[in-house]
Amino acid sequence: MGTMDADALGAWVREYARAVTEHRDELTELDSAIGDADHGTNMHRGMTAAVAALDASPPTDGAALLKTVAMTMISKVGGTSGPLYGTLFLRMSGALDDGSPAAFAAAFRAGVEGVVARGKAELQDKTMVDALLPAADALTEAVGAGQELDVALRAAADAAAKGRDSVTPLVARKGRASYLGERSADHVDPGAESAVLLVEAAAATLGRS
């Protein structure tokens, strides 16, 4: 199993950009039901710009690559997911250490904790945190138990999807969706959905490097 260098992390970021583009209309549709109908457009704009930034000036190490993605998301997304995903990648960049699977798991957790701190969301507020925190827990547990990274990331992606689904019946307590009150119940949260795509992209790329 290789380390999380610029090549490996670049493949993750590119796969996420591809997935966001593929699901752009779906994310926007979810957001039009309970938000301001821009999540797919915003994430597509941000990730397309991130890939363009990597192409324009290829980073030589994993931490630099994650920082480039972070700054691009912060600047280009436009909506709340910009500061949130930007903070995730920025904190991961600072915590990547030697890029071993254990370091990657710790960095992902640091990134998710950054999202929690930035958004001040808790579990069951019906946000991306409901997908990301269970994913970080599953990844940490699996890597800590000595699982190979591909198995650990599969467990993380499954935990993310389960977390997303668990809050679908709930009323949103954060973000634009919270303006809708009861009307936000029984809708998939768009931020939780894009977070699942992020972890799925990791399972599809980093687990195989």
Partner: protein, 136 residues
């Protein structure tokens, strides 16, 4: 006399520019620094934390900066912008929970009069008071 800078963060460039125009109407002949970070760079609705940090740096003369925001990502982009600033600049910045238009007008008037940063921030926060008093 202090020269506190003001930054307006909004999803919409026209909204921010109009709010600044409304505030400047109260400040004839003032050179008060009011910087705007609003909209996406393709002219759409959105906020950009890098642009916010640039605006804060431009508005800062050393006496501090008060940042007014609209909603949602404007707040989180302003918080993220603080992470991008040098420590000494960050220490001089206040993110105001005031309503954007009323807070901006109140803050701009006292800032133009030379009030210090905490006074400007306090005036922004009481921006709704005249309207509340009038409507009872």
């Amino acid at each position: 006399m202090a020269a506190v800078g003001i930054v307006v963060v909004s999803h919409s460039r026209p909204l921010a520019d109009a709010a600044v125009e409304l505030a400047r109407q109260m400040l004839p002949n003032s050179t008060l620094a009011i910087e705007v970070a609003a909209g996406t760079d393709d002219g759409g609705l959105g906020t950009d934390a890098v642009a916010v940090s640039t605006a804060i740096t431009a508005a800062d003369t050393g006496d501090g900066v008060v940042v007014l925001m609209d909603l949602g990502s404007a707040v989180m982009s302003a918080e993220t912008a603080l992470e991008l600033l040098d420590d000494d600049v960050r220490a001089r910045v206040v993110l105001s929970a005031a309503p954007l238009v009323e807070g901006l007008v109140g803050a701009a008037v006292v800032a133009a009069g030379g009030a210090d940063r905490d006074r400007v921030a306090a005036e922004a926060l009481r921006g709704l008071a005249p309207k509340q008093a009038h409507l009872g």
